[in-house]
């Protein structure tokens, strides 16, 4: 197996409970479209964030390691390759309406993963129902979504150790306090009324410093998905940069966790691995 490890910060401009999924600006939850920003669109962006916020993390998910049967390939062409979720993928829980009773963010849908660099492009889509790939998500019975659901019974897992190890954020409350201080320092320089309104809202939210509040708690939470991507695969490999024939007939296992949710920046961290079966040589 050729294991493609990836990680980085992603952006997702989504409404959160108790707002409805399609709430355009955010009212009662802990996420908002600020003054001057477009409506919340729920799209998970591994690249090219929309209206990125000041002092937020740099969005970009890339390949960080390539291993063949456990052996590191330190100069592989895919190192640093861009990783993307295509087709405006979203977290499809819809206020826990879709899927089984497990909590969390639900499934990621559509799931079409692309890894690309100048010489290589790997892309594969997962189909919830291979016999009927175009059936709308909301018409799928709950059991059909289980394979793509979170592996934990509760969806989210409180995992501060993983978050701290990977992101360096060990104290969510302190992290938020530092962000608030940075924004407060920016406020006197902001002369535009819209900009001031946006900064004011961010500062207000960051001033909610109860460590048990969902805004702080979710900084230390992860959710893991693990399934085999089963749809048609597209592999473009100019000049054989991958170095190995990838088996496009077998499913491609993928495992990823997303978490370390930064409610102020509307960003989270993703870390995962795409496992590519290699065609056995005669």
């Amino acid at each position: 197996m050729l294991d493609i490890h990836f990680d980085g910060w992603f952006q997702c401009r989504l409404a959160t409970n108790p707002d409805p999924t399609d709430e355009p600006r955010g009212i009662s939850g802990h996420t908002f479209a600020l003054a001057g920003e477009p409506d919340l669109d729920r799209v998970i962006r591994f690249q090219d964030p929309v209206a990125p916020r000041s002092h937020g993390p740099e969005v970009g998910v890339t390949v960080t390691s390539v291993q063949l049967d456990g052996t590191e390939l330190s100069d592989h062409a895919l190192l640093g390759a861009s990783v993307d979720l295509m087709d405006d993928a979203k977290f499809e829980s819809r206020n826990k309406l879709l899927g089984d009773d497990r909590g969390g963010a639900g499934i990621i849908h559509p799931f079409r993963l692309r890894i690309s660099c100048p010489t290589v492009s790997l892309e594969r889509r997962d189909m919830l129902d291979p016999a009927d790939p175009d059936v709308p998500l909301h018409r799928m019975p709950p059991s059909a979504l289980t394979r793509r659901g979170p592996i934990s019974p509760n969806g989210f897992v409180f995992d501060p150790e993983t978050v701290a190890r990977v992101t360096g954020i060990a104290d969510g409350a302190a992290f938020r306090a530092a962000r608030r201080s940075a924004l407060e320092a920016d406020l006197p320089e902001a002369t535009d009324a819209t900009e001031r309104a946006a900064l004011g809202k961010r500062i207000f939210e960051l001033s909610i410093d109860d460590p048990n509040n969902i805004r702080t708690q979710f900084m230390h939470v992860t959710q893991t998905w693990q399934f085999a991507i089963n749809g048609p695969a597209l592999v473009s490999d100019k000049g054989g940069a991958i170095g190995l024939p990838i088996d496009v007939d077998q499913e491609w296992p993928v495992e990823l966790w997303m978490g370390a949710w930064d409610a102020d920046a509307l960003c989270g961290y993703v870390q995962g691995v795409l496992r590519l079966p290699v065609v056995a040589l005669p």
Binding site: N17, A35, R94, N95, L97, H138, N154
Partner: protein, 428 residues
């Protein structure tokens, strides 16, 4: 009007708790109506970007209080269940005179305004046990709950057992997996006299007393909002944070005579009736959930996963927010409709659960069909308001389908029949 006088038996206690349930239900609807009348999108005129942040906070404040009242209604249902009563989700249609109000006042659906907020403040202030209206014949909310409290104290010390209801019927944060005070919800079970008194004290404190001011009370939320609203209106006469939503919108026969704003626009009328039917369906499910008959754990989880969460969030609220953009009348006017919360007072579920599940599922599939018809009518309208609401209406249709499917699977209703219904909708 309610019964009055000290509570000396179970029947009187159940009657007083039923009055309390009706009050909590009425204020929920009032608060939601006012909240949804507020402008929240930058495309709406009359509100600058900085002031839109304040308006957003006001809507958030009012919705937070409404969730608190939903918690109170849940706690009252727990109290009813504990003493052998039934949960109660009924009430008259708006506007009406009911318990807990001062003389001359009515429970009404009114858009956000200083007058509405003053009434909300007065209602919350009346949670004070010592609060009095000027008329002895009109009991305040505080007096009612104090009378209930004395009733529990009296009856709880008797030889005859008071707490006879099934504990498993009650709803708690622990039962539904909600950390305490997330989304301002703190639901607790009632098992004995002490826990009953604690629950009653919680209801009164959250309305007005506060827990040593750790969390703002409902009164404080309204007071803060009203003071800021008055200050901003005074400083900027062009500030218009409220949509032109008509008070007490209604679709029922004879509503005009009751002082309602009759919804005349045919498309809006369909939307308001869809809202009413959705709201009724939710109340039926909640009644079954809090009532607790012989449901299996899986069936109970299904009701939780639909009625308790997320029906209010994914159907009632979005549909209310759609309707406040829709015209009240057919002739051009700025006046819009609002969520009417109309119900059929004869509505009941069979105590036999299998037929209840089938009936509820049919209601859910009817909602799917009604939403589809509404969507087609909105698509034809070509008006600015129609274009604005269409994306949310499409999403709502998907949501209703998903709810229907989830309910069918959870209650093991044969979905083959209903799959045909969805396909027929697609083909129209």
């Amino acid at each position: 009007m309610p019964t009055s006088g000290e509570i000396r038996n179970r029947a009187q206690l159940i009657r007083a708790l039923t009055d309390a349930a009706q009050i909590e239900h009425a204020v929920i609807c009032q608060y939601l109506f006012a909240a949804h009348s507020l402008k929240t999108h930058p495309s709406e005129p009359g509100v600058s970007a900085p002031l839109l942040e304040r308006v957003r906070q006001w809507k958030s404040n009012i919705l937070e209080v409404a969730r608190g009242e939903m918690e109170h209604l849940g706690l009252v249902c727990n109290l009813l269940s504990a003493v052998g009563g039934s949960p109660f989700f009924g009430r008259p249609n708006f506007p009406y005179v009911g318990c807990g109000l001062p003389p001359g006042a009515r429970y009404e659906l009114r858009p956000f305004s200083a007058a509405a907020l003053e009434q909300f403040k007065a209602l919350e202030a009346s949670h004070e046990p010592g609060a009095r209206w000027d008329d002895e014949d009109h009991e305040t909310i505080g007096e009612l709950y104090s009378r209930i409290r004395r009733g529990f104290e009296f009856l709880g010390s008797h030889d005859r057992p008071l707490f006879v209801g099934p504990l498993g019927a009650q709803v708690s944060n622990e039962r539904i997996g909600l950390p305490e005070r997330w989304y301002e919800i703190r639901l607790r079970r009632v098992v004995d006299r002490e826990s009953a008194l604690e629950v009653l004290d919680q209801i009164l404190e959250e309305g007005h007393h506060g827990q040593a001011h750790r969390y703002p009370t409902h009164y404080e939320r309204f007071d803060e909002t009203l003071r800021e609203y008055r200050a901003l209106v005074a400083s900027d006469p062009s500030f218009q944070p409220v949509r032109s939503v008509a008070s007490n919108p209604a679709t029922r026969d004879g509503a005009e005579a009751e002082g309602c704003s009759v919804v005349e626009h045919p498309v809006t009328r369909r939307a308001v009736r869809l809202f009413n039917s959705s709201y009724e369906t939710m109340c039926l499910m909640l009644d079954r959930y809090y009532g607790y008959g012989d449901e299996t754990e899986a069936e109970r989880r299904t009701l939780e996963g639909i009625a308790l969460f997320p029906f209010m969030t994914v159907v009632i609220r979005p549909l209310a927010e759609i309707i406040v953009h829709m015209p009240l009348r057919s002739e051009p006017s700025e006046c819009t409709a609002g969520p009417a919360f109309e119900t059929d007072p004869t509505l009941r579920l069979s105590p036999q659960k299998r037929s209840s599940w089938i009936y509820i599922h049919e209601r859910l599939t009817d909602l799917v069909e009604e939403c589809s018809l509404l969507r087609r009518e909105v698509e034809v309208e070509q008006a600015r308001w129609a274009l604005a609401i269409l994306p949310r209406l499409v999403f709502l249709g998907e949501t209703l389908e998903a709810l229907s499917i989830k309910f069918a699977h959870g209650m093991k209703i044969d979905v083959q029949y209903f799959r045909g219904a969805y396909e027929r909708l697609e083909g129209r």
